[in-house]
């Protein structure tokens, strides 16, 4: 609810300005590289637009059908093992670059989602189901299976370690 009351402001204006200046400098010294970079960036932007639209719609549906308190109840400090498995599965299923998911996670976090689950989500994103056949083709079945196994375990451990760190810093 807090977010609703906030005044609309653009975030990361100075960062964007710094990137523009960086482009200007590269354009001055290596104009072809700058043009190529611009083209690559445009194609990335076009690629992630459908993901952003999905994120907007998904967040809207989530907020419309579930009350913030309901969401918080499934993802807060009292939530059990189910929340960890959901975070793990969501990370594996999620598609596109990490930053496309920032708005949704920020929204869930403002509703009470614990930080450990966000860490699990990010860590488990290394497993990309549509890309598994390519990974198997390059590195073989054994590598893919062993790496995926350690990745899932590692994602959960990272989430737990973060929560221990946060608990300790709260205690001190």
């Amino acid at each position: 609810m807090k977010n609703q009351d906030k005044r609309f402001t653009f975030r990361g204006k100075y960062f964007f300005l710094a990137v523009l200046i960086f482009y200007g400098v590269i354009f001055f010294f290596r104009s072809q590289a700058a043009q190529l970079a611009l083209m690559k960036s445009s194609s990335i932007l076009i690629k992630i637009l459908p993901i952003l639209i999905f994120v907007i719609l998904f967040t809207t549906l989530l907020n419309y059908f579930l009350k913030p308190k309901q969401i918080a109840g499934h993802l807060d400090r009292e939530s059990g093992i189910k929340a960890w498995i959901w975070a793990l599965a969501a990370g594996v299923i999620s598609h596109g670059p990490m930053y496309a998911w920032y708005p949704l996670l920020e929204d869930l976090r403002s509703h009470g989602m614990r930080d450990g689950l966000i860490v699990v989500f990010f860590a488990s994103r290394t497993i990309k189901i549509p890309l598994l056949p390519i990974m198997i083709d390059y590195f073989g079945w054994a590598f893919t299976l062993v790496l995926s196994f350690y990745l899932l375990i590692g994602a959960l451990v990272q989430g737990l370690v973060l929560e221990i760190f946060q608990q300790r810093s709260m205690d001190t």
Partner: protein, 154 residues
């Protein structure tokens, strides 16, 4: 007065409409548009300036150092994970250890220096620091464990 108060109470407890929530979420995305476009702009620059050849030239044929280099190169480089598989495959044929290649593939997705400003803005400095340190350490651990397990199994 009583009727007015009742009406106000009803309005305040009423569920917001779908379009109102949609508008709020569109505005939330619009608010971070400079951050997102900045990150995408940087990804474009890095994809042009840091080539796979440059990355391959960094490795020293020392498993431990190469694992660290693999992790750092994956964090610096960015793009579709398929590119990391292609580079990883190339590195393996050039004799670079599986420790380094695993680390590169892992850090390619979970670590990114380019995303850091946006991550700090959205999640805060503390969270970003903890998450990235954990991701860095675990990339190395998982890369080592994967390679050692494969050595035992195969």
């Amino acid at each position: 007065m009583g009727k007015n108060n009742n009406k106000q109470y009803k309005q305040s407890t009423q569920k917001p409409s779908f379009f109102k929530i949609l508008q709020k979420n569109c505005l939330a995305i619009l608010a971070i548009a400079p951050l997102l476009t900045g990150v995408i702009g940087l990804v474009g620059i890095f994809q042009v300036l840091i080539t796979p050849k440059m990355l391959a030239g960094l490795f020293q044929n020392n498993p431990l150092i190469d694992t660290m280099i693999g992790t750092l190169s994956g964090a610096v480089a960015s793009g579709n994970p398929i590119i990391s598989y292609i580079i990883g495959g190339e590195l393996l044929t050039q004799g670079i250890s599986l420790y380094a290649v695993s680390a590169l593939i892992l850090s390619w997705v979970t670590l990114s220096f380019i995303h850091l400003p946006a991550e700090v803005e959205v999640f805060g400095g503390h969270f970003t620091l903890y998450r990235n340190v954990l991701a860095f350490v675990f990339t190395i651990i998982i890369a080592i464990l994967t390679t050692l397990t494969l050595r035992i199994l195969l």
